[in-house]
Amino acid sequence: MEEVESVIEVKNLKAYIPIDPRTEINPVNDVSFSINKGEIVALVGESGSGKSVTALSIMGLNSPSIKYHKESAINFEGKNLMGMGDRNLRTIRGNDISMIFQDPMFSLNPVHKIGKQISEALILHKNVIYKKVKNEVYEILNKVGVSDPGRQMDNYPHQLSGGMRQRVMIAMALICQPSLLIADEPTTALDVTIQAQILDIMKNLQKDTDLSMLLITHDLGVVAEMADRILVMYSGKVVEEGDAYSIFKQPLHPYTEGLMSSIPTLEGESEEQLEAIPGTVPNPSELPKGCNFYGRCKYGTEKCKEQEPILEPLNGNRVSCWYPLKGRNDMSG
């Protein structure tokens, strides 16, 4: 296997929100992963599982109420972003790492023309004036499939459709040619046909520029379309990690399995009953002692209730479960 260069390495990321001196909430609990050059890694999980907090930790943009345990480290180009002061972090933000957000409606400043907004990062990091970068803005808009970029540059966000806005967001994120793009649910707010357009563009750009990407979504369909590797999060932890093909073929964690079977598929005859995961995500302030998924898991045992599993390699992937499905199937088979 050829040695691949990792762009970013998140190690033991553990975020906490102090509630009172004795209790804290951990929206992200001991998460480790890395992203290789030119790789798309998808982060999936239910609402509140800590996906956004993880992403914002990399950007250093979590709200100040969120703090990090000291063993947390995020290594980017040989530097640990965690210890870096805000001033240094700012030279990386938007320049080497950039991010696009879920809702293009609200992620653009309504009072500035989009040309200005796109160029802002460039102006800031390359120390140039707007006139000089107009061409670059034009180019990038063209690349993300905005028709008539010259005119669109002088428009305000409200004059654009949702799909156009998301293209603008992408253009904005890519204008400084970053090495890592974090996309937090980039298409959730969009209609399916528009989503397809956007995903297509993202994929093409990624291929062209050998960009690394952290794609956050809760739509397994999008993951299957886009991701090289998948991280499944559940209540603040990564419960499964592996390459996309193998996870979809054979999920190892019961939660991943549950997620997959709860989507109605378009193919084949429709099932009589969907396989829903019963119950709801546990409240982050009163997590159970053992496995967080215990209680919703159909395979749960006494051991799961008492002991917390850890993320361990299995068949080249990693899974955090006492009874991973592969093992189970192997045993039964």
Binding site: G162, E225, F248, L266, A276
Partner: protein, 329 residues
């Protein structure tokens, strides 16, 4: 053949977009623009379409929340304007998309669920309480939840409360306006299962609105595809998925991401451009601006919804000839 419980006859709903200089309305948002449809007892009709295509508006017109600008909605053969508002509520109910704003934050859940009963003077207080407990249990909650306020529930639980309220009067039809869109995947499945179970128990009809086509596929018998206020294709679920006719339907189906990485390199139809504004719809076929198979004719006049096969109805000039052939033969 059974009689439909609800039919829409050329229903249009326009909203004023600009009140003009002296209140002379000039522009209209054609939210719903001429829909014909029957809903049979016990049947679920799925309604899909892009955001702003008029799905919710149609739902609201159906339950009588809004009067159609043109056309008529009949319930069991009688125009709904002939019903007393109150009586209509016994027959048709609605479940809303946003589980947060669809429950009055200042009422206990028991009161919320009992409200339709109180309004219709059904039962004594005690009987109503019993009924509320039953309903709570039916939707998978316990009667102890009745004393709580909506804010103390999760999104999925609230959606269950909304369902319980809709069931209170044992209606014949429920309009579900994107009841699962706001929920997590794992919760969506719970709610969809619940809706399906209830339908089986009570032989309800649903008009199920969603813009995600998966959920619609799971729950519906027939599916109507809407584009800019019009139904562009209407067919049985199986037929629609086996053989979509309208270019929009085709692209919609192909755009849905498949949860299987093996399929990621398949051919897909990716549309150009955006959905036009309903205040300013294109002439002719409203899809012509994005249609991969657009012909000159499409820009001129509007196609009508016609049967292409025995089962599917499509509004597209591509199938005109098929029809003509059929008619002539």
């Amino acid at each position: 053949m059974v009689d439909p419980i609800v039919s829409l006859k050329n229903v249009k709903k326009y909203y004023p977009a600009d009140s003009g200089l002296f209140g002379n309305k000039k522009k209209w948002i054609k939210a719903v623009d001429g829909i014909n449809m029957d809903i049979n007892p016990g049947e679920t009709i799925g309604l899909v379409g892009e955001s702003g295509s008029g799905k919710s508006t149609m739902g609201r017109v159906l339950v009588g929340l809004e009067k159609p600008t043109v056309g008529e909605v009949t319930f069991q053969g009688i125009g709904i304007e002939n019903y007393k508002k109150k009586d209509l509520g016994k027959e048709m109910q609605m479940i809303f998309q946003d589980p947060y704003s669809s429950l009055n934050p200042r009422m206990t859940t028991a009161n919320i669920i009992a409200e339709p009963l109180v309004l219709h003077d059904i039962g004594t207080k005690k009987e109503r309480k019993k009924r509320v407990d039953e309903l709570l249990e039916r939707v998978g909650l316990s009667s102890s939840h009745g004393k709580r306020y909506p804010s103390e529930f999760s999104g999925g639980q609230r959606q269950r409360l909304g369902i319980a309220r809709a069931l209170a009067l044992e209606p014949k039809l429920i309009v579900c306006d994107e009841p699962v869109s706001a929920l997590d995947v794992s919760i969506q499945a719970q709610i969809l299962n619940l809706l399906k179970d209830i339908q089986k128990d009570m032989s309800l009809s649903y008009l199920f609105i969603a813009h995600g086509i998966q959920a619609v596929k799971y729950i519906s018998d027939k599916i109507a595809v809407m584009y800019l206020g019009k139904v562009v294709e209407f067919a049985n679920k199986e037929d629609l998925f086996k053989q979509p006719y309208h270019p929009y339907t085709k692209s919609l189906l192909s755009a849905v991401p498949k949860p299987d990485p093996e399929l990621r390199d398949r051919e897909r139809i990716i549309l150009k451009g955006d959905i036009p504004s309903p205040a300013n719809p294109p002439s002719g076929c409203s899809f012509h601006t994005r249609c991969p198979k657009v012909m000159d004719k499409c820009k001129g006049s509007e196609p009508t919804l016609e049967y292409v096969s025995n089962k599917s109805m499509v509004s597209c000039y591509l199938y005109e000839e098929v029809n003509e052939v059929k008619e002539s033969s």
